[in-house]
């Protein structure tokens, strides 16, 4: 196998990895917003349900969730192909972490801002959409980027279900060329390039959308 065809196979794998990452991140993002809103603004039963959801999913390894979805659910007649099962389990696990990011972001909007909004006559919804959300989203950018790279790295777990992502493609090449060191280091380099460039781009975007005087000075989660 020559260098170019190796590169092509690995890049195919990278595309699958990125597909997995982006799809599951979007699913997790939308679920996390619901969960975090329930945790912050919900009534007691909603809060309890959201907290239990988040606690349980944050305590179970991704690999176990994947195996439950892929090997366990067929006994109830629900079958997923490996790709879907991987996306769903990545999404579920990440949604629990992202909900905590949003919860923290919403709560870190200064209380005075909300009081000020109410005092000029905004109702609850207006306060949320015009005051809390724009600031909370900015607070959430840094930890969300971090979470995005975590999801990207965790897509390598889909290897266990047989999804032909980067690591699986790498393993295929290793089994024909017997060059594990070279190939796995190359895989690592690709992962590193993707995470590093994501971080760099997001830092730029973050700077661009920063509100002067309201920069978030917390540590990156």
């Amino acid at each position: 196998m020559d260098f170019l065809s190796t590169l092509k196979v690995l890049l195919d794998g990278t595309i699958v990895t990125v597909e997995l990452t982006v799809t599951s991140f979007i699913i997790a993002f939308s679920m996390a917003i619901v969960v975090s809103l329930a945790q912050v603004y919900g009534n007691t039963p909603l809060k309890v349900i959201a907290t239990i959801y988040e606690r349980i999913l944050r305590s179970i390894p991704l690999l176990v969730v994947m195996f439950i979805l892929f090997f366990g659910l067929p006994s109830f007649g629900i079958r997923f192909d490996p790709f879907t099962a991987a996306i769903l389990s990545l999404g579920l696990c990440s949604s629990a972490y992202q909900s905590q990011i949003f919860r923290g972001a919403i709560l870190s909007v200064p209380k005075g801002q909300i009081l000020a909004a109410q005092s000029i006559g905004m109702n609850g919804r207006q306060t949320f959409f015009h005051i809390t959300l724009p600031q909370a989203l900015r607070f959430a950018v840094a930890p969300l980027t971090n979470e995005f790279t975590i999801v990207l790295k965790d897509t390598s777990f889909a290897y266990a279900l047989g999804v032909t992502e980067l690591l699986r493609e790498g393993t295929y090449i290793v089994s024909t060329t017997y060059e594990p060191l070279l190939i796995y280091l190359f895989c690592a380099a690709i992962y590193f390039t993707v995470t590093f460039s994501t971080n760099t781009v997001v830092k730029r975007v973050e700077k661009k959308f920063a509100l002067p005087g309201f920069e978030f000075r917390g540590e990156r989660a």
């Binding site: 349980i56 944050r58 305590s59 179970i60 390894p61 991704l62 690999l63 176990v64 969730v65 195996f67 439950i68 090997f71 366990g72 659910l73 067929p74 006994s75 109830f76 790279t149 790295k153 965790d154 897509t155 390598s156 777990f157 290897y159 266990a160 690591l167 393993t171 290793v174 060059e179 594990p180 060191l181 796995y184 280091l185 895989c187 690592a188 992962y191 590193f192 995470t195 590093f196 540590e219």
Partner: protein, 219 residues
């Protein structure tokens, strides 16, 4: 439900065998990772150009690549350069290095959150920089690092499940073993999940107790 309890009880002895390996992996990696984390964390915070650059590259590279790839490099690729590691050794080494990079970042964050006045005060009463770091800054930083350190421990316990992929008979592998015999995939993996959940809850609770015990009033 009765079926689930049956499966759980039957699988329990196997899963406990696996749990021993899981905890062995997690405990040794968190301990070795802690040593790595302290060294790298201090050189990231106080290092001169050389050690700072070196530790930054280490942290960025390790945190920028998946744990599974690191594990595969140690287990499948190292034999190529003449270093053959057993599955457990390869797992412990890669988990320790991985966790070390994360712990270094937590420790660095904690060091930076210690009031700079403390360092100045220590230097002004004649301590050397090294003494000030070891006696004044680190004790405070290590207390502050407990919550994120607990998180890291929980992460590590969950990530030990990938050792299954190189053949360590830990919790996940035992679950797979039991399930492939009785075909109760759902019930067995739910049992595995419950055991992970229980361990994580116990550890989180334990560390929050420790955190309360060692808290310094007023700092």
């Amino acid at each position: 439900m009765i079926n689930f309890i049956n499966v759980f009880v039957n699988a329990f002895p196997f899963l406990m065998n696996g749990l021993v390996f899981t905890m062995e992996l997690a405990l040794s990696s968190i301990a070795i990772g802690f040593v790595i984390g302290i060294i790298v964390g201090i050189s990231r915070s106080y290092g001169k150009r050389f050690s700072y650059t070196l530790s930054t590259i280490f942290v960025e590279v390790i945190r920028g690549t998946p744990l599974l790839v690191q594990l595969f490099i140690f287990y499948f690729a190292f034999p190529q350069i003449g270093i053959s590691l057993s599955p457990i050794t390869a797992s412990i080494i890669s988990f320790s290095i991985n966790s070390g990079a994360y712990q270094a970042e937590y420790i660095r964050g904690a060091i930076q959150s210690v009031d700079t006045g403390q360092m100045k005060a220590a230097l002004s009463i004649g301590m050397t920089k090294w003494q000030a770091i070891m006696r004044i800054v680190m004790p405070q930083a290590l207390i502050k690092v407990i919550p994120s350190w607990t998180n890291e421990f929980v992460y590590l316990i969950k990530y030990t499940s990938v050792a299954y992929l190189v053949g360590v008979p830990e919790l996940m592998a035992e679950g797979e073993f039991v399930a492939s015999r009785n075909f109760e995939f759902m019930n067995v993996f739910l049992s595995v999940a419950i055991i992970y959940l229980a361990i994580v809850m116990i550890i989180t609770w334990g560390f929050s107790r420790i955190e309360k015990m060692v808290r310094m009033p007023g700092v």
